[in-house]
Structure formats: structure tokens, C-alpha cells
């Protein structure tokens, strides 16, 4: 085993960034994710790896600094919590439109508005269905453990560069604040100028002579040209749907009812599955790891064999719409969730399952 530590989810985001060779972080304090910025500040990566850490004057500044930094072909990231991500929406749309790779972390809290600082999953729509304007998609990774907070930083960068598209880790206040065992990976050096030239040489602003001029932009005034751009984006999103779907299943082989849950809700639902199984009920759990691309094919397949799905989310019913689209009316799909910063218990989920689907 490698370097094993007991760490907070937010601290691990910072640690992972340093270890995976991230070049820059731009952020602004907001509860419950300020430890990302603070951990980076105390770790002093600018001395260790040369990574830049900057506290901006707002989330609007953070995302635009990220927009600029991403145009240089470097591995750059930001993090925030729900209201801060709303402020970044404009920049995120531009990053997607200009096809620039970067990593964003959202440690969600309850909304709408200023809401609360307690955990929530109510930004599913914002993250997966838009948030900013225009037909764009983010690569959305939903960690359910501190270990995944670590692993998804590197994975997020990998996918962002593979598709020249922003990737986002959609976490929440539970995962960000809780401490768990985490195995840290090896230090990977930051990319050299030569490596960046090789990976992103066709578009990145490298400051190297003898290259064709490139302008990073999301603007195309000719509508036919803009449609062409959109067709290119859509082809990319279809490719993600074909190649990048990630999910995990627990006790689904013989299941009659399936809970669908991501992030901390999935951790709670694992316990619900145990409770149900102990009472002889055949219940399984499907945990989408990528929320975009969504694991539509497996849900469609399971819809042929199970009696119903319960989408369990810390929101008023968001992912359930994607589950319903996948199931396409074959079997009932219900939603259960607590919201506004309240976390459901495994027993509440079990009761909802019985009430809404099993019929007891």
C-alpha cells in the first residue's frame, strides 16, 4: 500500500491536485469548501512543484482566471460551493464553447439562493443540464468517498484534456467535510513545455515561436459556422456517452427493486440495501459515477428485469428525470429525498421504498 492517510475530502482535493501535476488553482473562500484553498496555501506547492495558488476577489474572477490559464494548455482548476458555482456559470459556458480543458470542483450546499451551508445534491440540474447558456455538457464525476475525491482529480484532468472540455467533480458538504482513509498516489511531475506542445500544441498559447496563430474564442457570428461548431461539440458528447460512462452496482444481480443514488446519498443507500436484504427483500443499488455521461444503457437494461426504481437524492427530484428517460415507462420510477441541507437516513429510504414501490 502506498501513502495512506486520514484526511478530509476537501484537503484531499488539494493534495491530489499537487500530486497529479496541476499547474494552477484559482479560488475564493466559501463554506463548506474553503479547506481546498487553505490546504493548498499551507502546502506551498509553488515551492514543491511550481504550482500557482491564487485567492481571487470573487468566483467570477476565479473562473475567468481559469479561462485564461486553461488557454495556455496547462492543468488548471478551481473549486467552490453552490452559490459560487452559479457565479461561474457564464465562464463555464465560455470554457465549453471555446473547448478548453479544466477542472472545477463543486462541494454542494443547500439552496436556492444563499440557502444553507449544509450538504445538498440540488445542483444536479445546474451541473448536468446546463447552468450556463447554450448547448454544452460538462464531464461530471460524482465521488462517494474521500478516496474518490482524490482519484477524480486526476481522472477529471485526463478526461478534460481527452475531450478538450471542462470536467467537474460534483461533491457535497458531506464528502468535503468528512474524514476517511485515503491512499495517496505517487507525485507526478507537471507537464513540461514540450509535453504541452505535444498534447495541446495546435491551440494552446505557449509563447513558442514558429507556430500557427490561434485565437481562443467561443464566438462565431455566422450561424452556419456556429451550427458546425455545435455539431462538433455534440459529436464529442456522443463519444463521451459511448466511452466514458462509469457506475457501480451493489446487489443488483437478483434485485427486484433498485435504488439509484450518487455521491453521499449512495453511501446512505448501501445501508438501506443491507436493511432490505436482512428483511428478505431483493433490493440493489446502482451508483452513477459519471452523471454526464449518465449510465442510461445499464438502467435501460435493468428496467427489463426489475419491478421498479427509486431515485434517492438530497434534492427535490432531479436525477430521477434521467432515470425515467432511461426506463422509458417500462416500470415505475419514484423519487425520495430530503433537501435544503437535510440528509436522509437509511431507514427513511427503506420506508420510502416500501411506501412508494413495494406497496406495504
Amino acid at each position: 500500500m502506498g501513502d495512506v492517510r486520514l484526511m478530509k475530502g476537501n484537503e484531499v482535493i488539494a493534495e491530489a491536485a499537487i500530486r497529479c501535476g496541476c499547474d494552477g488553482y484559482f479560488g475564493y473562500p466559501i463554506t463548506p469548501q474553503s479547506e481546498v484553498l487553505e490546504t493548498l496555501a499551507i502546502r506551498r506547492p509553488w515551492e514543491e512543484t511550481g504550482m500557482v495558488v491564487l485567492q481571487a476577489e470573487s468566483e467570477t474572477a476565479s473562473i475567468n482566471m481559469l479561462y485564461g490559464a486553461a488557454s495556455t494548455g496547462k492543468k488548471v482548476m478551481t473549486s467552490s460551493s453552490s452559490p459560487g458555482i452559479s457565479l461561474m456559470a457564464e465562464g463555464i459556458s465560455y470554457l465549453a464553447g471555446a473547448e478548453l480543458p479544466c477542472l472545477i470542483v463543486n462541494v454542494q450546499r443547500g439552496g436556492p439562493g444563499l440557502g444553507t451551508i449544509q450538504p445538498s445534491q440540488a445542483d444536479y440540474f445546474q451541473t448536468c443540464k446546463g447552468g450556463g447558456h447554450g448547448d454544452y455538457k460538462l464531464i461530471v464525476l460524482a465521488p462517494a468517498s474521500v478516496q474518490e475525491m482524490y482519484d477524480f482529480v486526476e481522472l477529471g484532468f485526463e478526461l478534460a484534456f481527452k475531450y478538450k472540455n471542462p470536467a467537474i467533480i460534483l461533491s457535497d458538504g458531506v464528502i468535503g467535510q468528512m474524514m476517511e482513509k485515503v491512499e495517496l498516489g505517487e507525485y507526478k511531475p507537471r507537464w513540461t513545455a514540450e509535453q504541452i506542445q505535444e498534447i495541446s500544441g495546435s491551440w494552446a498559447c505557449l509563447g513558442k515561436a514558429g507556430r500557427e496563430r490561434h485565437i481562443s474564442t467561443s464566438l462565431e457570428l455566422d450561424p452556419y459556422g456556429m451550427e458546425k461548431n455545435n455539431l462538433r461539440f455534440q459529436a464529442k458528447y456522443r463519444e463521451m456517452e459511448a466511452k466514458e460512462v462509469r457506475y457501480e452496482m451493489f446487489d443488483c444481480e437478483d434485485a427486484e427493486y433498485i435504488l439509484v443514488a450518487f455521491g453521499s446519498s449512495a453511501r446512505i443507500c448501501q445501508k438501506t440495501v443491507e436493511i432490505a436484504r436482512s428483511k428478505g427483500l431483493k433490493v440493489g443499488l446502482l451508483r452513477p459515477i459519471t452523471l454526464f455521461p449518465f449510465p442510461t444503457p445499464i438502467i435501460r437494461e435493468l428496467a427489463g428485469t426489475v419491478k421498479g426504481f427509486l431515485s434517492v437524492e438530497m434534492n427535490a427530484g432531479q436525477m430521477v428525470e434521467d432515470v425515467r428517460l432511461a426506463v422509458n415507462g417500462k416500470v415505475p420510477v419514484e423519487h425520495f429525498g430530503r433537501y435544503g441541507g437535510v440528509i436522509h437516513t437509511p431507514e427513511e429510504v427503506f420506508d420510502a421504498l416500501k411506501q412508494k414501490l413495494i406497496g406495504e
Binding site: 473562500p29 476577489e57 470573487s58 444563499l114
Partner: protein, 338 residues
């Protein structure tokens, strides 16, 4: 309106439990504001308290007036909207160094530039308190905070210079612990027509305790604080023995009767001087060479946006040939459909 309005501080207190930390400077500032409001002769229902996000922005909950707890950094814009939609209100915007000068810097300078009649109180504790101790845009260069464990590498804003630089017409500075003085400053700010900005040096007991101690230390404060009054000499010191002179393009602190300086050499404060060049220097004064200036540093009469807005609407209405629907229908080409 009632002929006699007699309010006291407690008429402006709300039922809500005040949740600032014990010892926080915000408690004192709230006392000053409530006392100032009671003295203004305005009806209770005319007051609206508008805040952004931060510790100071919890203010509306603790006031018995109408309130609006808005968006981080956006209070200046929201307050502008409230005042322009209902110019009769007496608007108090409560904000901090983060809310007004970091995320809200853009809205802040535009409020000041437009000169909308809003009383803006800027709590300056040089730290982000609500998010537990990261540096703000007024944090001194080199300060150790949670997000700058090895010292900041940025220079801070000087709010007074920012206000004057943005074309502002009223700027005052006070300190949380001096409740009576702060109250007077607030009353003057409220009576000023147009945007008034009052910076109140505030102590955050938890995340930046003692940040203003060098200025407030009882042993030295007479030598380190200069209380400005329009039309009066800039003198300070325990026995009023010191003063400010303008020499070789700079401000200088001197002792009256020493090195040939007499009372005649000491500058007289002119808060109404429109260009603001000397007021800008007064805002910049700081330890160790010079005392810190308090009081109304700038108070200049200028067109007030919300007043001009209403006047312009009335003017255009008065000069328009269209007074009713019939006028409108007969104002251009008309034809009859047969």
C-alpha cells in the same frame, strides 16, 4: 408625517438574537447606527437596511426596520434598485471589506460614481470573518492569514482613496469602539444627499483580533488619531500640541512651537473642497509617520442620481405633447379601416 418624531435606540432593535461573536466590533457599530437613526427625524417605516454577505451583512435581522439580505457583493446594486424604485426611502447599505471591495468592487465604484442617495457603512476588519479567516482586499501586505500562511503578496485598497478616485462626494472614517463619534459621523452621512461611504474600522475578535490596536491603544491613541472637523485646524495629541502641515508636496506631522512651527502653519480641514486632492492625502495618512484621520474627510454637494432621475421623468412628461391615450392615437399617421 407626525409633527414630532421621538424615537430611541430601542425602537430600531429587532427581537432576533444577535449572533455575532461576543466582543465583535459589530455590536458597537449597530448601537451607533440605531442611535443615529433615532435622531434623523425620519419615520421608522422610511428606513430600509440592505446587506450583501458576510458577518456584517447579518445586520438586517437585528434591525426592526425593513431589510434585505441579498447576494455576496451585490448589495450596492440591489440598494441602487431599491432607492431608484422608491426614492422616498432612507437606505442604509451594510457591507464589509470583502463584500464591498472584493466581489462587490465593481458595483461599489459604480454606486459611488452615480451618486445615488444611499448611506453605505463599510465594516473594515481586514479579514474574511464569515469564512473563518482568509485575507481580504484591505488586509495589509505580508499579513499571515489562513489563505496566506506565508504572508500576502498584495497591496490593500484604501477605501477612502477608492471612493474619491471613483468620483465619490462623501467619505468618512470612524472606529467601532468610539460609539458616540461613530453615531455623529453616521448622522452627518445620512444628512448628506448622494452616496455617503463611512468606513468603520472594526475588530474581528476571532480571526483578526487587535488588527487596529496600533491606532486604538489608549496609551498612544491621542498621538495616532486625528479627528477632522470641517473648517477647523488639523490638530491632535494629548494636549492638542501637534498638527498637520503641508510641506514640499506632502503632509507632515509637527509639534506646535517646535522647529519654528506655529498654529498658523497648521492646515484647516476643508471637507467641501471639490477636487479632493488634499482629502485623498488625508485618507492615505497612516502610522508610523502620520496619525490616522477620522471624521468626515469629504462632503461635497453634487447632483443626486435618484433626484435627477425623478426630475428628468417629470420634465419629459411635462414637455411631451402626449398627455392621454387620445393624444397618443392622434399623434401620428391614423387611418380608418373600412
Amino acid at each position: 408625517m407626525d409633527d414630532q418624531i421621538t424615537y430611541t435606540q430601542k425602537d430600531f432593535k429587532s427581537e432576533n438574537e444577535v449572533r455575532w461573536c461576543p466582543g465583535c466590533g459589530d455590536h458597537a457599530i449597530m448601537n451607533s447606527i440605531q442611535r443615529a437613526m433615532a435622531n434623523l427625524g425620519r419615520k421608522h417605516e422610511d428606513f430600509a437596511v440592505i446587506s450583501g454577505i458576510g458577518c456584517s451583512s447579518r445586520f438586517p435581522y437585528y434591525m426592526s426596520t425593513f431589510g434585505f439580505h441579498t447576494i455576496h457583493g451585490r448589495a450596492s446594486a440591489v440598494a441602487s434598485g431599491v432607492k431608484c424604485a422608491n426614492p422616498n426611502l432612507c437606505i442604509w447599505q451594510i457591507t464589509g471589506d470583502g463584500d464591498a471591495l472584493a466581489i462587490g468592487g465593481n458595483h461599489f465604484i459604480h454606486l459611488v460614481r452615480r451618486n445615488i442617495d444611499i448611506n453605505l457603512v463599510l465594516f473594515n476588519n481586514k479579514i474574511y470573518g464569515l469564512t473563518k479567516g482568509q485575507y481580504s482586499p484591505t488586509t495589509d501586505r505580508g499579513a499571515i492569514t489562513k489563505s496566506s500562511p506565508f504572508g500576502t503578496i498584495e497591496d490593500p485598497f484604501n477605501p477612502g482613496k477608492l471612493v474619491i478616485g471613483a468620483g465619490g462626494n462623501f467619505f468618512a472614517r470612524s472606529i467601532d469602539s468610539n460609539v458616540k463619534f461613530t453615531q455623529e459621523v453616521f448622522e452627518e452621512a445620512a444628512r448628506h444627499e448622494g452616496t455617503s461611504v463611512c468606513e468603520v474600522l472594526q475588530n474581528c475578535v476571532i480571526f483578526n483580533d487587535g488588527v487596529h490596536n496600533a491606532i486604538t491603544d489608549p496609551e498612544f491613541r491621542a498621538d495616532r488619531q486625528l479627528f477632522l472637523k470641517h473648517g477647523e485646524k488639523m490638530i491632535f495629541g494629548a494636549n492638542n500640541e501637534k498638527g498637520i502641515v503641508f510641506e514640499k508636496g506632502r503632509l507632515k506631522a509637527v509639534t506646535i512651537g517646535q522647529d519654528g512651527y506655529t498654529l498658523d502653519d497648521i492646515l484647516v480641514h476643508d471637507a467641501e473642497e471639490p477636487t479632493g486632492w488634499l482629502q485623498m492625502l488625508l485618507c492615505s495618512m497612516g502610522l508610523p509617520e502620520l496619525p490616522v484621520a477620522f471624521g468626515v474627510i469629504r462632503s461635497v454637494k453634487a447632483p443626486v442620481y435618484d433626484q435627477v432621475l425623478v426630475e428628468q421623468i417629470e420634465e419629459v412628461k411635462a414637455s411631451s405633447p402626449i398627455k392621454c391615450m387620445d393624444d397618443l392615437l392622434n399623434s401620428g399617421d391614423t387611418w380608418e379601416v373600412k
